[in-house]
């Protein structure tokens, strides 16, 4: 096809001169109302963003992302949108789990675009920090989806808690060879459980060096109240317990019936607070990471 040298009588060279002066159309229409947002930060990067002026939009969609400086920690594609009552449009609530290893305060950005020929709104921003936990006792309990105690037993062959997100940084406890001693002979941690079936499956097996699924803590025959395993930081070695920002668990799926694990902490060993409930997949071959 021959080159076009003129268009409607105007030389192409003249058209080229104004290229870049005239902005491309963005589709026209009025900008959507700028959303107002609130951010609630849960344990290990679980974040809830709520558009507080949601009712002022007509059938909107929201674009949401988070970043530390120039590093995107959460892309819009990683954000879970929920539906309004009636399931006919998106709701005001968006959630995601920020497991990015970047440190520092995150800035979450939200734009709205509503039905009716409107273009996207200006961006609304808010900030959050990754929340960890600091406690003398850390307990994992088998629970229901709602966090209620359950007799659905635990079968855990590996359980470790990390000082940084993404299962990085110093891990706790070290590899135990008994309830109170690690493989180096130190007594920095004490493992405990609400129920031990037999000496073949004691609580410290969840924290030992073996990667064998049969070297596990198994709460066979447990009651709902006793369906837990925990460790305690030694008071002398850890005058202040470290802050934990992620954990990893390996379950023996055939012997493990708890669909959810509750993370509970305490500083006195008697009063525990439930910090979060985590769904586990019945998968023996892949350890599951949270945070």
């Amino acid at each position: 096809m021959a080159d076009i040298t003129a268009y409607s009588g105007i030389d192409m060279a003249d058209i080229a001169k104004i290229s870049g002066v005239v902005k491309a159309s963005s589709g026209g229409g009025t900008a959507s109302t700028t959303p107002t947002i609130s951010v609630a930060e849960g344990l290990f990067g679980f974040t809830t963003v709520t558009v507080t002026n949601h009712s002022s939009f007509t059938n909107p969609n929201y674009q949401c992302s988070a970043a530390v400086g120039a590093t995107t920690t959460i892309a819009d594609s990683a954000v879970d949108h929920s539906l309004d009552t009636g399931s006919d449009s998106v709701s005001s609530v968006m959630t995601f789990t920020d497991q990015n290893a970047s440190t520092g305060t995150r800035t979450v950005s939200v734009r709205a675009q509503e039905f009716g020929g409107n273009i996207q709104s200006a961006v609304a921003t808010a900030t959050y920090d990754i929340v960890g936990m600091t406690a003398r006792y850390i307990r994992l309990r088998g629970v229901t989806a709602s966090g209620a105690q359950s007799t659905n037993r635990l079968a855990i062959y590996d359980l470790r808690f990390f000082e940084s997100a993404g299962q990085s940084g110093t891990s706790h406890p070290t590899n135990l060879v008994s309830a109170t001693t690690d493989s180096s002979g130190n007594t920095y941690y004490t493992a405990d459980a609400g129920h031990d079936y037999s000496t073949a499956y004691p609580e410290w097996r969840a924290f030992d060096s073996s990667s064998s699924i049969f070297h596990m803590y198994w709460a066979l025959g447990t009651s709902a109240a006793n369906n837990w395993v925990q460790f305690k930081y030694d008071d002398t070695q850890f005058s202040t317990p470290p802050t934990i920002k992620s954990f990893r668990v390996g379950i023996y799926a055939n012997g493990h019936f708890a669909t959810h694990l509750a993370l509970e902490t305490s500083n006195d060993g008697s009063t525990f607070t439930q910090l979060g409930v985590f769904e586990v997949n019945p998968d023996t071959t892949t350890k599951q990471n949270f945070g």
Binding site: S198, G221, G255
Partner: protein, 60 residues
């Protein structure tokens, strides 16, 4: 996990032949059989009274 005949016999005795066959064929999962096999392996077929009580409590 390998099982000896002694261990399997103990697990079958603690459960039932029907449950055991359906379980190992994958027709119907039976927690009692699974637990019996695990405990029988641990004890080399010498299931304790506590083991038997636990297994019985899991029978369908």
């Amino acid at each position: 996990m390998p099982y000896s005949k002694k261990q399997i016999d103990a697990a079958v005795d603690a459960t039932s032949e029907m449950c055991f066959i359906l379980h190992v064929l994958g027709v119907e999962y039976c927690d009692a059989v699974f637990v019996a096999m695990q405990l029988s392996h641990d004890s080399d077929g010498a299931l304790t009274k506590n083991d038997l009580l636990t297994i019985t409590s899991l029978m369908p």
